[in-house]
Amino acid sequence: MRRLLITGLLAALGTLPGSTLRQLNLDDMIRQSTMIVRGTVQPANSVYHGSVIFSHYTVQVTETYKGSVSTQIDFGVPGGSLNGAIQRVAGAPNLSTGQDYVLFLWTSKTGLTQVIGLSQGLFSVISATGAAPIVVRAAAMERTLNATGQPVSDNDIRMPLSALKTEIASVLSGQSTE
């Protein structure tokens, strides 16, 4: 009886309580993003938004999955250096110039566009010769190979790009079962 009770409560909780980050699932990100695009990033400039330095990047958009179509989008990542000040934000996404990404972006009321969920909305696109491209949550890139060169398997988000596109289209059309 007690087990059943606990099971019900745990299920009702849905996600874990936490102190800083909430885990967004894929459908959450699709719904709450204001733009979802694929493209490569280039660092732009650093700008203060209020008291926080944001390192801005420009996305050269190759595909748009949500939001109005644009060839270039600017977004900011909290933290950076400007005028002698250095600000650090734990969990801010690490971006590689020229890397092919799918970005789930969110624009605030103030007009600032960021990656949703700090790093959660950043996916690397991996295209191998002769294989369909796959998307991998970016942070997982750090451990796709371990110190001995062996592939690491875990339960990260890793799916064909085509499947991600299908899921996005499904959620946006209201057909997702989740």
Partner: protein, 682 residues
């Protein structure tokens, strides 16, 4: 003026010559004076105590407040809870750093030149994020207390502007456990602490065991104390040192943990060459183990969202994520995964226990990682690191979520083959490991606490055939149920002072004086003063001052880590009523008359403040000018509506206002004073 890197190196080389080698412990923000080693002179980012008045970092709360509050919440309550969270760090006696409430500030109004912490409410926090902290440095090196440091010049904590749409929680009332623990966590970042893996308040969502009643773990206390050691503190604690090696290679960013069966864990990270030194360890016998950082979890940009160390030019040191099998120190080469075979390593006050080395084996990834445990109170409130009552006839279920507990890529919730769970030591036994039905990805065990078990945190071991994971403070042993409050009754004492009679159960008596009570009663995050108990067992409490008509939530916190929120997630309230002739009537708008209107930078001054509809109390009334560049040296209460304040304005700033805080009442008045430039000829 920003110093060139060449100049910094000159300072640095000099520093290395004159300073003795310091160890570093815990998870600080670290730089090294070399990119290639030896890495024996880590440089940490922290507040420079030499730049602070009375070792106190002032913190300020944006006067804009959150735009949308949770139902029943108030900005005053939020201020009270944030002050309560700051008091958690302020009360660490082994740290000389203090936090002082500097009042409200107007974001962007002043360009601060003195260190401080700002708390703002932002519309720019993206979905998936509850709060975050930015700390700002200039990159310049300075001599601070304890040696060469990179001084933090400003820390800023950001909370959502809409506290009804906070991820996971929806409503995020200030009295709640998550709000308070989040604030304590973010304050820790603001002081220079990174995430740890020891179930402390500085742990991430994934492993934190912190609660409102017991927010700090031993690791948090040691961390802040080593960063800002109080006088003679380091002589009262000991140190451990050694190296974590894989073959002939030292492993950087390995976590080394010291814990005992009866005490919480203390930890550190290894230097890039695998060496480590853990300071701040209380004397005693410890099991010492090394484990890898967990893989970066969903939403993290690095393992545990750690900001990796760099060289002094900000260049990365080539550190990579390294997984290896967790190992307990055995006193000789080899180590063990069997905690029972671990060597009981002694730590003596003021001494270093060296040679605590590990020779670990690589693994593709950690078998089990990032586990958090849950239990449920009798009113079905979920509680992390659950308290289990000693003497219960039947075992208590403890649920757990984390990596590696269930088979990967199997939606049927199948326990990972070979996984077993046991309790470190003899305080309890764990049995009946099971998975919950899908889709909820949890497991559970039944834990039976032995009748002879001591109180306090206990640790779980998650063993697989080729690895082991240790979860410090997975549960705690208590001797009674959580406190609960059944009634809150306003009253007056024989002198006409406001008191509150609190009826309830499981309040803890002070073990030293039978008449006092160890339970703490909070009113919107600020403690009341317990004066005693009535014949019927009610607590007689003097609440913090508050304006007539104000309503405050009331919670009971016990020293065993349990709170009335475990049973009553929506706490009862206390309404500040009339009856005190000296206090303003309900609804009366307070205001301040301030003299002089002008403060001259660099010249200490006395500010005279007369309040209307205000009530000042000696020792409880605070004055702030909305900036850390105006230092309040002393507040003297001349009468219940008259203050004399000694201040030292530092530099030219446009003061956004003056605010006077007494208990839960905050009187904020824009442009009460202006600070102007000191005459450069003087």
């Amino acid at each position: 003026m920003k110093r060139s890197w060449v100049a910094r190196w000159v300072v640095l080389v000099f520093a290395c010559l004159v300073l003795t080698t310091n160890g570093w412990g815990y998870y600080f923000y670290v730089l090294y004076n070399t990119g290639s080693g030896p890495f024996n002179q880590p440089i940490v980012e922290k507040f420079n105590l030499n730049s602070l008045v009375n070792n106190t970092v002032p913190f300020f709360i944006s006067d804009a407040g959150p735009a949308v509050l949770a139902p029943g919440d108030s900005f005053q309550a939020i201020i009270g809870e944030i002050r309560g969270a700051a008091a958690v760090w302020d009360s660490v006696s082994t740290s000389q750093l203090r936090l002082g409430f500097g009042g409200l500030f107007t974001a962007g109004a002043a360009s601060e030149t003195s260190p401080g912490i700002d708390i703002e409410f932002s519309d720019d926090i993206p979905p998936g994020l509850v709060a975050y902290t930015v700390h700002e440095v200039t990159g310049n090196l300075s001599f601070g207390s304890g040696g060469l440091i990179v001084p933090i010049v400003r820390s800023r904590i950001y909370l959502p502007n809409d506290l009804t749409q906070v991820p996971t929680y929806g409503d995020f009332p200030s009295y709640s456990e998550p709000f308070f623990v989040t604030m304590v966590h973010e304050f820790g970042h603001s002081l220079g602490l990174q995430h740890t893996l020891t179930s402390s308040v500085m742990s991430t969502i994934y492993t934190s065991a912190a609660s409102k009643a017991a927010p700090l773990g031993a690791d948090d206390i040691a961390g802040v104390s080593v960063l800002y050691p109080a006088d003679k503190y380091l002589g009262t604690v000991g140190s451990l040192s050694g190296r974590v090696m894989r073959g002939s290679t030292g492993l950087g960013l390995a976590s080394v943990v010291a814990l005992s069966i009866t005490s919480p864990a203390i930890s550190t990270l290894t230097n890039p060459d695998g060496s480590y030194r853990m300071d701040g360890v209380p004397p005693g016998q410890y099991l010492v183990y090394a484990h890898p950082l967990p893989p970066a979890l969903y939403g993290e940009s690095s393992p545990d969202n750690i900001i990796y160390p760099t060289d002094v030019n900000g260049n990365p040191l080539g550190l990579n994520y390294n997984a290896f099998a967790t190992q307990f120190f055995t006193g000789n080469y080899g180590g063990t995964r069997d905690a029972n075979q671990g060597y009981s390593t002694p730590v003596f006050a003021g001494e270093l226990t060296s040679g605590v080395d590990f020779h670990v084996e690589s693994r593709p990834f950690q078998a089990v990682y990032a586990v958090r445990t849950y239990g449920f109170s009798s009113t079905n409130v979920p509680v992390t690191s659950p308290p289990l009552t000693r003497g219960m006839p039947t075992p208590s279920p403890v649920a757990a979520a984390g990596g590696g507990l269930l088979e990967a890529n199997n939606s049927n919730n199948v326990i990972t083959p070979g996984l077993s769970i046991s309790v470190l030591g003899t305080a309890a036994t764990a049995s009946n490991l099971r998975a919950y039905p899908p889709p909820t990805p949890y497991i559970a065990v039944d834990v039976q606490v032995n009748v002879t078990a001591g109180e306090g945190p206990k640790h779980l071991l998650f063993a697989t055939p080729d690895d082991v994971y240790v979860l410090p403070a997975a549960f705690s042993v208590v001797v009674s149920a959580p406190p609960s409050i059944t009634s809150v009754t306003p009253s007056l004492d024989s002198n006409g002072n406001r008191i509150v009679l609190i009826a309830g159960s499981n309040f803890i008596a002070n073990p030293v004086t039978s008449t006092a009570v160890a339970t703490t009663i909070l009113f919107d995050g600020l403690p009341g003063v317990i004066q005693g108990t009535t014949k019927s067992g009610q607590l007689i409490v003097t609440p913090p001052p508050g304006q007539n008509g104000y309503s405050a939530t009331v919670e009971a916190l016990n020293s065993d880590g349990q709170s009335s929120l475990f049973l009553q997630p929506t706490p009862p309230t206390f309404s500040y009523g009339g009856g005190l002739s000296a206090t303003p009537t309900a609804g009366a708008v307070p205001s301040l008359s301030v003299t002089p209107k002008l403060l001259v930078a660099g010249s200490p001054a006395t500010v005279d403040i007369v309040g209307t509809n205000a009530f000042f109390i000696a020792g409880q009334t605070l004055v702030g000018f909305g900036t850390s560049d105006v230092v309040v040296n002393q507040v003297t209460v001349l009468s219940s509506n008259h203050l004399s304040v000694q201040v030292t304005p530092n530099v030219t700033v446009a003061t956004s206002g003056i605010n006077v805080t007494t208990g839960l009442e905050v009187i904020s008045q824009a442009m009460g004073n202006q600070v102007t430039t000191a005459n450069p000829k003087q």
